[in-house]
Structure formats: C-alpha cells, structure tokens
Symmetry: C2
Subunit: 106 residues, 2 copies
C-alpha cells in the first residue's frame, strides 16, 4: 500500500496537537487548585528532560512535528514543575490560603 508523502506529516501533526495540548488542562488544574501535592515532581522533571532530547532527535531526523511538539510540551512541563515547586513551598510555610497538602512522600 502506497503511503502518500503528506501522510506522516499530517499524522505527526495530529499527534503533536494531542500530546502537547494535553498538558494545558493539567496546568490549568494546578493553577486553579493552587495545589500540586499529588503531582509527581520526578515525573515532570524527567518528562521535561525527555522532551528536550526528543527535540534534538527531531532535529536529527528532520521531523517538524517532533521538533515543534516537544518544544511546546517542554514549556508546559516546565510550567507545571514551576507551579508545583511554588505551591509546595507555600504549603510548607503555611502560606495563608494554601490548601491542605497531601505532602507526605509516598
């Protein structure tokens, strides 16, 4: 079966919109709850690192969807990391208005 030359780019673009856009609701949720105790810092730090390496991979294989998707995803992942660090710090200091944190290390 012949695959049209535009097919990979289209499929990659759809994938990119999904996996990149997916993190926007999580950013919004953390922001509105002003809490991220259940979010794994390790996950999002490691994920951010991985998206950076994927970005490099995209450059090596000349894939625009891979480069673009991981560039934006990297920003979103680092946003979540930043928010979490901020809210966790405020929670530990008993910052007025900070919600109770499930901060125990499971």
């Amino acid at each position: 079966m012949d695959i049209p030359s535009w097919a990979p780019t289209l499929v990659g673009s759809v994938a990119a919109v999904c996996t990149t856009g997916a993190f926007v609701p999580q950013v919004v949720r953390v922001w509105r709850l002003k809490s991220a105790g259940q979010i794994s810092l390790t996950t999002f730090l490691l994920f951010a690192l991985g998206t950076l390496v994927w970005l490099v991979y995209g450059v090596l294989i000349n894939s625009i969807p891979v480069i673009a998707a991981n560039g934006v995803t990297l920003v979103l992942a680092l946003t979540i990391v930043s928010l979490k660090l901020n809210y966790d710090r405020k929670s530990r200091r008993g910052f007025p208005g900070a919600p109770p944190e499930l901060n125990r290390r499971p």
Copy 2:
C-alpha cells in the same frame, strides 16, 4: 558536520526512556496516595490518544524509538486514567479509607 547513522536511534532511545519512564513515578504516586483529584483526566485521556497517534506516526516513518516509546507510554497513561476513575468513584461514594478529595471542578 556528518551525523553518524546510529546517532538518531541512540538519541531517540534516550528520549524514549526519559519520557516513557517519567510516568512510572506518577503511577506509583497515585497508587500510594490512593487519590488523583489533582490529576487532570482530560490531560491523560488526550495524552493517551496522542501517544496512540504518535505510535502510528512511528510506523509511517519507520522509527523504532517512536513506536516503542509510545506503546509503553500509552499503557502507563491508561493506567493513570484507570486509577483516577477508580479513586474518584470511591471518593464520591465515601468509600472507607478514601482520602479527602479536592473534587471541586476548577
């Protein structure tokens, strides 16, 4: 600058290990806390869909790292979705032992 032919596969493999392995701590955290109220369901559903489409993209461009990474990531993302649905349900029913949920829709 000539890029060795093995370089993209190596870089892609490192990226795959990072972004796929990144979700393991989040799965563990949700499992141990028995709670996922702060996790965005939309995020992980959309992310799971995206990894599936990336898997298809990997097939189209014959990229083993893309295929393998997204296959495993898909399983981890769906695990988080499954755990969240389970814990959210138990929380709404007042299941004994279920922790207080930040269940308000932000």
